[in-house]
C-alpha cells in the first residue's frame, strides 16, 4: 500500500467515523445519566431524513440540520417520556423508536416526494461544503506533512470538525463541570443525587436532550455530508455500531474517539478489498470486516480483554421514596 492510498483510506476512515462518533457521544451522555439508549439508530435515521427533506425544500443545509435535530429531539422526548416519566422499560422504548423512525421516514418521504421513500438529490447550498483549512495550497508541496495536511486533515465538512471537537468538549463537560459530575452521579446513584436536592428527572431529561442533539447532528451528516440525500434505512446499523463503540470505549470520551476511528477504519477498508489483498497478501471476506465491530464488542463485553462495566443505575427507572 503506497502513501497516497493509505491517506485515502484514512480520509475515508475519518468521514465514516464521524457519524459513529457523534452517535457514540450521544449515547455516552444518555447512558452516563442512567438511561440506556438503543434508539440511537432511529434518531439518526429520523434526523437524516428530515435534514435532507428540509434542505431539499429550502435549499439551505443549516435550516435542514435544525429540522433534523428537531426530529431527533422529538424521538428523544418520547424516550424520556417512556423511560423517565412513565418508568417504562428503556430497552423496549429504544426498540420502538428504531422501528418508528424506520417506518415513518419512508412513509413521509413517499408522501412528500413520491420517489420510493427517498428525498431528491441534494446539491449546492443544500449540502455541507467541504472546508479548506488555511494555508492548504502553500503546505501541500511539503513532502509527507503536506499531503497529510491537505488530504487527511483539511477538506472535510463542518460536521466532521464539530464531531472531533465534541470529544474534548464532552470530556470537559462530564469531568470538569458541576453539571457533568451530577450527570455521572445520576447514572451511578440517583438516590444520592436526589438527597442532595437536585432533580433526577431534570438531569436525566437534560442528558436525553443532549443525546437527541448529537444524534441529530450525526443524522444530518449522513444525509448531507456523507451522502447527498436520504435513502431508506441509510443508517444501516450505524446506531448499533455506535453503541458497540460506546461499550468498547467503556463509556469514556477519548476512548470513544479511538473506538469510532477503529470501526470507521474497518468500514473504510471494507470498501477497498484490493488494498487489503495487496497489503496482507490474501483475501479477507467483506463479511468478516462487517461483523468485526460486533465480534470485538462481544469479546469486550465478555470481559476477556478488560471488563466493560456500565454505569450502575443504567436501565433502572428512578422511583422517589415516599
Amino acid at each position: 500500500m503506497d502513501f497516497l492510498t493509505l491517506l485515502q483510506v484514512l480520509d475515508t476512515t475519518i468521514r465514516l467515523a464521524t457519524p459513529l462518533l457523534l452517535a457514540c457521544l450521544a449515547g455516552l451522555f444518555s447512558e452516563r445519566a442512567g438511561i440506556f439508549d438503543i434508539g440511537l439508530e432511529g434518531k439518526m435515521l429520523a434526523s437524516a431524513f428530515l435534514t435532507a427533506a428540509v434542505a431539499a425544500v429550502t435549499g439551505s443545509v443549516l435550516i435542514g440540520t435544525l429540522a433534523g435535530i428537531g426530529a431527533a429531539l422529538m424521538l428523544s422526548g418520547i424516550h424520556g417520556l417512556a423511560s423517565i416519566t412513565f418508568r417504562g422499560n428503556q430497552l423496549i422504548s429504544g426498540v420502538a423508536i428504531n422501528f418508528l423512525a424506520a417506518g415513518i421516514t419512508v412513509v413521509i418521504a413517499q408522501s412528500w416526494f413520491g420517489q420510493g421513500g427517498r428525498t431528491p438529490q441534494l446539491s449546492g447550498n443544500a449540502r455541507f461544503e467541504s472546508i479548506d483549512l488555511p494555508f492548504v495550497s502553500e503546505i501541500r508541496d511539503i513532502p509527507v506533512l503536506g499531503p497529510i495536511y491537505a488530504e487527511l486533515i483539511s477538506g472535510h465538512t463542518l460536521l466532521v470538525y464539530v464531531g472531533l471537537l465534541m470529544v474534548p468538549l464532552t470530556w470537559w463537560v462530564l469531568f470538569r463541570t458541576r453539571f457533568g459530575l451530577r450527570l455521572r452521579a445520576v447514572g451511578e446513584n440517583p438516590a444520592a443525587v436526589d438527597t442532595a436536592g437536585i432533580s433526577v428527572v431534570g438531569l436525566r431529561f437534560a442528558a436525553v436532550a443532549i443525546c437527541g442533539l448529537l444524534t441529530g447532528l450525526a443524522g444530518a451528516y449522513l444525509s448531507t455530508g456523507l451522502q447527498a440525500g436520504f435513502v431508506k434505512d441509510m443508517t444501516a446499523g450505524r446506531g448499533y455500531i455506535a453503541l458497540a463503540a460506546l461499550i468498547f470505549a467503556k463509556w469514556r470520551p477519548w476512548y470513544a474517539l479511538g473506538a469510532c476511528l477503529l470501526f470507521g477504519f474497518l468500514q473504510a477498508i471494507a470498501l477497498r478489498p484490493d488494498v487489503i489483498e495487496g497489503t496482507l497478501g490474501f483475501e479477507v471476506g467483506v463479511q468478516l470486516l462487517d461483523a468485526l465491530p460486533y465480534i470485538l464488542t462481544v469479546v469486550i463485553l465478555a470481559g476477556f480483554v478488560g471488563r466493560a462495566i456500565p454505569p450502575r443505575a443504567g436501565g433502572e427507572p428512578y422511583v422517589k421514596e415516599r
Binding site: 418508568r87 417504562g88 422501528f99 419512508v106 461483523a291
Partner: protein, 373 residues
Amino acid sequence: MQKMPQWADVVLIPLISLLLAALLSALVILAIGENPWSALKLMVDGSMGSTYAWGYTLYYATNFIFTGLAVAIAIHARLFNIGGEGQAMLGGLGVALIALYIPWPHWSIALLGGAVGAALFGAAWALIPAWLQAKRGSHIVITTIMFNFIAAALLNYLLIGALKPSGSMEPATGRFPEATHLPTFQDMFSTAETALFRGAPVNVSFFVALLACVAVWALIWRTRLGYEIRAFGQSESAAKYAGISPTRIIVVTMLISGGLAGMMAINNVMGEAERLVLNAVEGAGFIGIAVALMGRSHPFGVLLAALLFGFLYQGGAELALWTSIPRELIVVIQALVILFTGALDNMVRMPLEAMFLRLRPAPKPARKTEPAE
C-alpha cells in the same frame, strides 16, 4: 391484593394500547392524504376476504407465533431476547443444511428433521449470549443485538460462497429436493371441484406452531422447569435461595427461546421458499417482540397477537399494492404497538388503576409488585 381485576390487566390494557396505536396510525394515514376507513376496509378485505388472503395471513402469523413465543418465554425469566432475528436466520441455515444434504424419504420425517435442525441451530446461536449473561454478566440485550449482525454477515458469507450452487449468480442455496416440500393448505384442504388457499404459502407448519403454543403453555405452567423459570423471573434472589441455579435457568431459557425462534425456518424456508435466500427472516424476529408484549407473554395471547400482526402484514401488502401508502406503514404500527404495550405501559396502566381504585371503596390495598415486563 391487586389494584385492578385480572381481566382489566389481561384484556383492557392491551386493547387500549392497540386502540391508541390504531388511532395514531389513522392520523398518519390521514396526514399523507389517504382515507383511514377505506384503508382499513382494504386491509380487512385483502387479509381475510378470501381463502387466498387467509392463506397469506396465516402464513405470516405462523412466523410470528414462533418468534413471539421465543420472546415470551424469555420474558418469563426476565430476559429480553432481541436476537430472534439472528436466531431465526441460523434456524434457516439449519433447515437448509438438513434438507439439502440428507436424503429424506417423506415430507413428514423431513419436517421432523427440519424442525430439530432449525431448533438446534437457533438454540446454538442463543447459547453464547446466554452463557455470557449467566457467567460473565454481559448484558443479554446488547449481545443478542450484536449476534443479529454477526448472523447476517455469516449468512451473507455462506450464501455467496459455500452454499451457492456453482453457476448460479443469485445469493441463495439450490432448491430443496422434492421429498422435503411441505404440503400447503391448498394441498390439504382443496377438493376436486373447489380449490381453496390457491397459491397461498400457508402450510402444515401452522399446526406445528399451534402445537408449540400448547407446549410452551404446558412448559411454563405445568412443569417444574417452568415454575423455576417464572420464579427466577419474579425474583432472582428468592430463586437462588430456593436452590434454583441462575446459570442453568438463563442458559436453558435462552436455548428454548432461540430454538423457538429458529423453528420459524420450517415455515418460511422449508414451507414457503423451499431454499434459503438472503434476508429470509424479513424482520419477523423483531415483530416477535411486539407480539410477545401485546400477548402479555401468554401463549394464547401470543397466538392472538400473531394473528393480528399476520393481518397487518398481509393487509399492509395489499395497501401498498392498491394505494400510495407504502408497506413501511406496518413498521410504524408495529413500533406504536411496541411503544404503547411495552414502554408506555404505565401511561395506560396508571389512570386505569386509579379508576378501578375509585370504583372500589375498599381499604387501601397494599402495593402490588410490578409484573414482568
